[in-house]
Point group: C2
Chain length 131, copies 2
DNA sequence: ATACATGCAAATCATTTGCGCAGTC
DNA sequence: GACTGCGCAAATGATTTGCATGTAT
């Protein structure tokens, strides 16, 4: 018995490629539509299955901004996001992660900190201009 | 036509009371079970409807830790969380919110920052002891 | 009396899964 | 050939909604 995702598949490679080439933070549905343009018979279930495999392999990251659905990201390095509360668009922020955060917070936490997640919310310039 | 949530209701008051009296960050289902002990005929739909009303009134807060379901919190002041990746328990952290964060980050953001969300992930002491 | 709120059940939305066949190693 | 991956459709889980009836003001 082999581990999951040890064989290559056209579907998985294409899904990763599409994800890696966008700067948006797409949902499974969005990826499905894009990949479908090249592999018309692919199913949504396959997209979900492969997103899990890629995530387990550490090649992609799963995001959640409390919208009730998940988004995916091929940028796996730690980085922060800015979520526009008007249009919903999510942008990566070009800021170096706060190094000193864990040591500073650790004493106040009943456990061992492994990671943190930091998101900013507000209105993006595009939306501000539009009014 | 009146606004939503302008009339009092036994159900809504009880839901808020139960939520306000717990330090856990319960799901709608959990609240439903608790409230049901006192209002047996209440429906899950009513719980959801009232959680939305309370949220719109600013009396409670909706949380999301990427588990695929929502949690609720009667503590509306800005505060951070520590999520145990083993048992899933969410604890409030007693740390003053980072004041300097917005001004420091604002220059790097294509929009206006209104708020930020900061969560820590790791293993809680309870789980660490258990091994 | 009016219009918001409820209980119930059906609907919706995102995601997961069982199954038999296809593709990769 | 063995075992992973696929497409399809049905199942699941959380949340939402339509409707007739109940209830607060």
């Amino acid at each position: 018995m082999q581990a999951l995702g040890t064989k290559r598949s056209r579907q998985r490679e294409k899904i990763f490629q599409v994800l890696a080439r966008t700067t948006s933070h797409p949902t499974a549905e969005w990826l499905y539509e894009r990949v479908r343009e090249q592999i018309p018979r692919i199913s949504l279930g396959t997209v979900y299955r492969n997103l899990h495999i890629l995530k387990d392999q550490g090649k992609i990251r799963e995001l959640d901004f409390g919208e009730g659905l998940r988004r995916y990201d091929a940028t796996i390095e730690q980085h922060y996001h800015f979520v526009c509360e008007r249009c919903g668009r999510v942008r990566d922020l070009d800021i170096t992660p706060l190094e000193d955060l864990h040591p500073r917070v650790q004493p106040h936490v009943p456990g061992t900190i492994r990671a943190h997640k930091l998101d900013f919310y507000g209105i993006c310039t595009d939306c501000l201009v539009r009014e």
